[in-house]
Symmetry: C2
DNA sequence: GCTAAAACGAGAACCATTCTCAGCATATGG
DNA sequence: CCATATGCTGAGAATGGTTCTCGTTTTAGC
């Protein structure tokens, strides 16, 4: 057991030093970060950090309900603290994704009955509108070839 | 120009035979299909079909607003006809994703002002609840290591 | 200190997707 | 009817983010 004491939530095991560093970087950032970006930023600190461990811990933090994740059209995953409730407009043509400054879903208050959830324990939700951004509408003749 | 005549929608260029085949398979399927699954099913028909073309046409159909796409946690993309308005419960631990039989968002009627959209032309939206499925809650001791 | 168990890092492996490029189909103009 | 330009197609190679492997390092408990 390489765990450090520090029990912020009885529901969750204590976090290791690298996991705390990772969370801290995510919280300081004002945007979602990819695994690679996170790795780069962590390297600049004093601790050693391997890419594999960054991904390992991202998975663990996500399972613990501390980190949320979203996939961009290019396949990258981007991460943010769970409590951040941002949603996005994403272009199906160029892949550009930008924050949508409203949450159209009554978070938490979702009228989701327990019956519908069937034992599923919700942690966060993602809402995304996909379409064509202005510049793609203008540049593309929209031909199927 | 290898396009075949057949103008179903003045807003959109006519579709080629492979694009129509692709759409047909998606419409017959009662679930989202991945690019690879789509490719397999198309191979079974009479026309020849290459994987590259399947992906090429999926991209084009998506841009034309005929097909929607969603990324699974394992990195695969799954496709469906645009008009299908399904949403999902997805487990952050095992990656299992199942349909959620309600749409908590007032589709179309989203109170999204044009100001917020800033020229963005919406085609479809995705809504997904991420959390822990029952079996993952039971099996995992939730340790950070 | 010493040992067993857990976490770690570097690099290889993975795999869905995209790219490359030579060949072929379509449409048109001569 | 044939020549030619255009651009779609498929096989296979390349790409790139993420995961796996495995030998090493760190931690916890004694």
């Amino acid at each position: 057991m390489a765990q450090h004491s520090y029990p912020p939530d009885p529901d969750v095991m204590p976090l290791g030093p690298r996991q705390r560093a990772l969370l801290a970087v995510l919280q300081e950032a004002n945007a979602e970060l990819s695994g690679q970006e996170l790795h780069e930023r962590l390297r600049q600190g004093s601790q050693r950090h391997g890419l594999a461990t960054v991904y390992r811990n991202l998975r663990l933090l996500q399972r613990s309900g501390l980190v949320r994740c979203r996939k961009l059209p290019n396949g990258e995953s981007v991460y943010a603290p769970l409590e951040r409730d941002d949603h996005h407009l994403t272009c199906v043509s160029c892949g550009h994704s930008e924050p949508l400054p409203i949450c159209p879903v009554a978070t938490g208050g979702l009228g989701l009955s327990k019956v519908l959830l069937q034992g599923f324990k919700p942690l966060f939700h993602t809402f995304e509108i996909h379409g064509l951004c202005l510049s793609c509408q203008q540049s593309e003749p929209l031909s199927h070839g």
